[in-house]
Amino acid sequence: MEENKKAHLLDLKLPLGGLLSFYGLIMVFYGLFSGKEAYQRSLGINLNLFWGALILVIGAALLLSSFRKRRAPKP
């Protein structure tokens, strides 16, 4: 089976990682600069900061994995 014929048409980790990293970044910044009143609803927890940080980590991990694959020497 010619598996390397198409391989991955487009490495999905790239757009996914990019999108999540973008989200993580803006959420963390928003979380750092928004006032306390915004978080009354979420029981006082600064969700944007924490969840945004998690999302950023996931996004960055995906991007990293995608770049390392590109750098790896072709067989």
Binding site: I26, Y39, I55
Partner: protein
């Protein structure tokens, strides 16, 4: 009525980012769409984890998410049955037993299998009914999305419909099934990331599951305990109806024959990944109740005005959105809205890709213009995508004037799915099923489903609840198809053995056992089943 939710710039940035990525993904896939197989089946080249997540997300549309949260607000933990009984076993059965015939026979669509195994009439019946229903469903999801965003966010109805239609059109036109699948995988991540904050906050606020149990009626917190009789539980069903109707017929009927999900497995790169696709999907599927059942329970515990109005009107669909506006600050809120938007749009894209494939190969390529070169059908597929989106927009407007259409669509789907499963079951596992047996079995199953519904509505049959009626209707339709297929097959001519190779159990080449033990579908399927049993036991 003022919108329930107000969005800030950050929320729009999150939504905008998603739209941009979807269009970019579609655009960059353009150059790979060289043949029909590329466009309609992703060149049969995708790895199992992608097709597996897409398989799950294709089903996890926004209507499903909102509907299931509403169901758990209405019925409690029993809603898990839709997952742990009503999905997992069927998904595993598909992967282990049925995918070898679907993938091995190299069919491009579900109706094509029926043509090879049975006859043209059976294929036609399935293809035409599926094509119509799927494009109508696409319009219905489009309308449901626009309506939701109008009510909750104040967006213009026409604006949302046209905007979503254009975006979906672009990325499906450019990238075909691959676009649809890639965006479904992105949707998968967004749904979890968007909805988990609600689960955390809800559980923290109510004191965990134990805290919820204190605030909710006893029957809400058990999945099997109150199924002894239909009058004991809010769902209005007993355990037999759940197992036979939901667990067996309805769920197998959907998961094993609905082309929208099966198409994703067919896009896999080899037979082993195609078998693993539904099995890989079953693991996150087991966990989906975390993001749909818990929010429903929390909504009842934490939003008293909602519980009151919903109990009076029977309308529970606003549970999720109300919960979101209750707990989520802007930012995370934008993410949750984007997750819903993503699910709606990928649902529509899934319907459009299923429609353009079935139309091009099973209807156009069979009845209108046969035997043309592949490039011709590729072009037809692209134009059908445009037509499909236009029809969806048209349907969305029709549904606006006739809102009951939405409920009828789900109902009509169920008329077809349950009997179809019997037709496939016999076709794949019994050499003796004949072409006319298949056709008349299917026809009679559909008729019994419709007939049962009419008689139920006329009051001739009595059930404790609408859902109970649905489950039994599906069971009788399946049984009729099963019996009639066998009966008619005993008196009509079989197909030659040579025509059936690769299509039926016992006439297919045995796969050489080259896969390592721990990668085999049977092993992982069993793991999934055992895990599901444990979950059922835990939430008894």
């Amino acid at each position: 009525m003022a919108p329930v939710i107000s969005l800030h710039l950050i929320d729009y940035a999150i939504i905008g980012g998603y739209i941009l990525v979807m269009i970019l993904v579609g655009y960059s896939l353009r150059k790979y769409m060289r043949t029909g197989e590329d466009f309609f089946l992703s060149g049969r080249s995708l790895p199992g984890w992608i097709t597996g997540l897409a398989f799950l997300s294709a089903n996890l549309g926004a209507l499903e998410v909102i509907g299931m949260v509403a169901n758990s607000a209405k019925y409690g933990i029993m809603t898990v049955h839709f997952y742990w009984v009503g999905a997992i076993p069927a998904m595993i059965f598909l992967g282990i037993f049925m995918m070898p015939f679907y993938y091995g026979s190299k069919v491009k669509t579900v109706p094509e299998y029926l043509k090879l195994r049975y006859n043209e009439a059976t294929r036609g019946l399935n293809a035409i009914s599926f094509a119509i229903m799927t494009v109508l469903m696409s319009g219905i999801s489009l309308y449901a999305m626009a309506l939701l965003f109008k009510l909750m966010l104040g967006w213009s109805l026409t604006g949302s419909i046209l905007f979503a239609a254009v975006v979906v059109l672009l990325y499906v036109f450019w990238g075909g099934l691959s676009s649809s699948i890639y965006n479904e995988v992105i949707q998968f991540f967004l749904i979890w990331l968007g909805l988990l904050p609600l689960v955390f906050l809800g559980l923290k606020n109510t004191g965990g599951l134990a805290g919820l149990a204190k605030k909710l009626p006893e029957a809400f917190m058990h999945s099997w305990k109150y199924l002894g009789s239909a009058s004991n539980n809010p769902l209005g069903i007993e355990w037999m109806g759940v197992i036979l109707g939901l667990g067996f017929v309805l769920s197998f009927g959907y998961w094993t024959t609905d082309f929208l999900v099966v198409q994703r497995a067919l896009a896999s790169k080899n037979i082993a990944s195609s078998r693993m696709t539904p099995i890989i999907a079953s693991f996150p599927k087991m966990l989906v109740p975390i993001i749909v059942v818990i929010p429903g329970l929390v909504a009842v515990a934490v939003l008293p005005e909602f519980s009151q109005t919903a109990a009076q009107s029977g309308e529970y669909n606003s549970a999720l959105i109300l919960l979101m506006s209750h707990y989520l600050p802007n930012g995370v809120l934008g993410l949750a809205i984007t997750a819903l938007l993503a699910s709606f749009m990928s649902g529509m894209a899934g319907n459009v890709t299923a429609f353009n494939t079935v139309w091009t190969y099973d209807i156009y390529g069979t009845y209108i213009k046969k035997g043309k070169p592949d490039q011709h059908y590729l072009k037809v597929g692209k134009y059908t995508t445009i037509a499909g989106v236009v029809i969806s927009v048209g349907t969305a407007y029709i549904v606006q004037s006739f809102p009951n259409l939405m409920d009828y669509m789900q109902l009509i789907f169920s008329f077809f799915n349950a009997p179809l499963f019997a037709t496939f079951l016999l076709g794949m596992f019994w050499k003796g099923a004949t072409p006319w047996g298949g056709f008349f079995g299917l026809l009679s199953g559909i008729s019994v489903a419709a007939g049962h519904y009419i008689l139920y509505k006329l009051g001739v049959f009595h059930y404790t609840s609408e859902m109970g009626a649905n489950f039994y209707q599906a069971w009788w339709a399946w049984l009729t198809d099963f019996v009639v297929t066998i009966g008619v097959s005993l008196f009509t001519q079989k197909k030659a053995i040579s025509e059936l190779t690769g299509l039926v159990y016992g006439l297919s080449p045995k796969e050489k056992g080259t896969i390592k033990f721990y990668l085999r579908p049977e092993v992982w399927g069993s793991v999934a089943l055992i895990a599901t049993l444990v979950l059922n036991f835990l939430f008894w």
